[in-house]
């Protein structure tokens, strides 16, 4: 096999871009002052934080005063959902609406709230991996505190009808949060136009470092703090400001959102080329809607080739990818997302997620297209499950 390195797991995390790195570096070195301090070293850091806040606000169509920096996307999700739940519980609203295929930062948060006595409706996402607005409408009740639905799914990349859900929630006077960690930079977002009350995002998905996130909260939305303490972030999120990472996130979101149509035009043909090529593998399927999906997301299943083994084999060929197989997570159940769109355990076990972005080129795509079929074949050749299938001893519904 060719000696080539292809990073194709950009939905897991991205490389810090040079532009972002150069922007953050001074704040890791000489600009180490506490952004809340009054001497010049601190004031400059404080200004840098406010510049970044403006960059984030501009990218989302929000006001800087509506932007709160957090420690990661998961923290933003937890803060938004737990905060809204606890706030509105005081008004007797103890019902939350979400989908079955949210990221665990939302799902496990909802489960924690259920233990506290909240009631959660998990909406289905059907075979195409897209929630239906009508289902959201039907689920809204008098005591619904919050609707939280992800903007784009992290595994199968399907994009949800956020504008319609936003309009519905506004009309019904229910708070609406969206986990946009995967969507930012890939879909144009305008929180005002789309009636989004709260939105989570994470730096490391858009070429900023790990360990920095944002929660956008519309003016007027006041929820209890998740992290109490000092007066940072207008008293709503304590902790000495992570200046370097905040600056990086500001730059990264500016770059990510400056030409979204250009990114889509560049990346989605590469995505389609991969999907078309790998669809020729017998007993394969594409997971999630083919049209309404992130420009860089490929998610497919290959029966008889277990996902973790696929990943390790691809790694040997220099390709970094991911899978929804149970075996990759150390749990017994395969990805809840793949099960949610109706895959059987068997098929979900043979899944592969390839997430490319604008840093990938045609040679990367060719390497993927050439390697995956070989690897699938190799694993199938040693798979008793495949043997049974070929000998018609077994039926599998794709």
């Amino acid at each position: 096999m060719m000696k080539r390195f292809v990073y194709a797991d950009n939905s897991a995390t991205t490389k810090i871009s040079d532009a972002v790195f150069n922007e953050m570096l001074p704040w890791l070195k000489e600009g180490y002052g506490n952004a809340s301090s009054i001497y010049a070293l601190g004031r400059e850091a404080g200004f840098a934080v406010e510049r970044a806040r403006k960059q984030v606000a501009d990218a989302l169509g929000a006001q800087p005063s509506e932007i709160y920096f957090t420690g990661c996307g998961s923290e933003s999700d937890n803060w938004a959902v737990k905060g809204a739940a606890h706030k509105l519980a005081a008004k007797g609203k103890k019902h939350i609406i979400t989908t079955v295929f949210e990221h665990h930062a939302i799902l496990h948060t909802c489960q924690a709230l259920e233990k506290e006595g909240f009631e959660v409706t998990y909406l289905p996402v059907y075979e195409n991996g897209i929630v239906r607005v009508q289902d959201v409408e039907n689920a809204i009740r008098e005591d619904t505190a919050l609707v939280t639905i992800m903007y784009a799914n992290n595994e199968i990349g399907t994009i949800q009808p956020i504008s319609q859900i936003g309009a519905l929630c506004r009309e019904k006077n229910v708070w609406f949060h969206t986990d946009a960690v995967q969507a930012v930079g890939n879909v144009p977002i305008d929180v005002k136009e789309q009636n989004i009350d709260m939105l989570s995002l994470s730096g490391h998905k858009i070429h900023a470092p790990k360990g920095i996130g944002v929660l956008y909260m519309k003016k007027g939305i006041v929820i209890p703090n998740l992290i109490d303490g000092g007066g940072q972030e207008r008293g709503r999120r304590a902790g000495t400001e992570n200046v370097a990472s905040i600056v990086a996130l500001g730059k990264a979101i500016e770059l990510a959102c400056e030409d979204i149509p250009g990114r889509i035009a560049k990346v989605s043909p590469m995505r389609d080329k991969i999907i078309d090529a790998l669809s020729k593998i017998p007993y394969s399927r594409v997971n999630g809607d083919r049209e309404r999906r992130l420009n860089g997301n490929v998610n497919m299943s290959f029966i008889g080739a277990e996902g973790e083994a696929l990943l390790l084999s691809l790694d040997l060929a220099g390709i970094c990818a991911s899978s929804g197989s149970a075996c990759t997570t150390g749990s017994l159940d395969p990805s809840h997302v793949l099960l949610a769109i109706g895959l059987s355990h068997e098929v979900a076990h043979g899944s592969l997620r390839i997430t490319i972005n604008e840093d990938n080129d045609q040679a990367d795509i060719d390497h993927i297209i050439q390697t995956v079929p070989q690897v699938v074949e190799k694993l199938r050749a040693m798979s008793p499950m495949w043997e049974d299938l070929m000998k018609n001893k077994k039926e599998v519904k794709l």
Binding site: E308, G330, L332, A381
Partner: protein
């Protein structure tokens, strides 16, 4: 997920992959639902395992444990093969992540299942010798 180099070695180039068309014993354990199926073929001559092959559907650890388990019993007496434990397999691989230990259990069971099949084919009831080959407990709960 922290695999040892040994696991990765065996995964990259597993030993004894394939089928034995004239096997004296064949055992299959696991189930596709949990993502683990191991099938083991053995050939027995003079009370010794003269050849062994496997096929596995499963993760890196499942493939590596199959590979090393076949190495460990190849050429061994039936008695010694019966003594193969999953912890010996784990040790031979320089350890496994905790969440992967069940894959090594499967390797032990696959060997036992193949030996049980061998005894059955000899007209011997394997249960007193090999013991019950239960399902993996974790798998059973699915």
């Amino acid at each position: 997920m922290l695999y040892s180099d040994k696991v990765l070695e065996h995964f990259a180039a597993p030993h004894n992959v394939g089928e034995l068309p004239d096997a004296d014993g064949v055992g299959e354990v696991g189930n596709a639902k949990c993502g683990d199926i191991m099938k083991m073929y053995i050939k027995v001559d003079d009370g010794k395992i003269s050849d062994v092959k496997f096929k596995t559907f499963g993760c890196g650890a499942a493939i590596a444990t199959s590979s090393i388990a076949t190495d460990m019993i190849k050429g061994a007496s039936i008695e010694d093969a019966l003594k193969l434990t999953n912890s010996a397999v784990v040790e031979a691989l320089d350890g496994l992540p905790a969440s992967k230990v069940h894959c090594s259990v499967l390797a032990e069971q696959a060997v036992k299942a193949a030996l049980a099949d061998y005894y059955r084919k000899q007209g011997v009831d394997p249960t007193p010798i090999v013991g019950e080959i239960g399902e993996c407990e974790a798998c059973h709960n699915l």
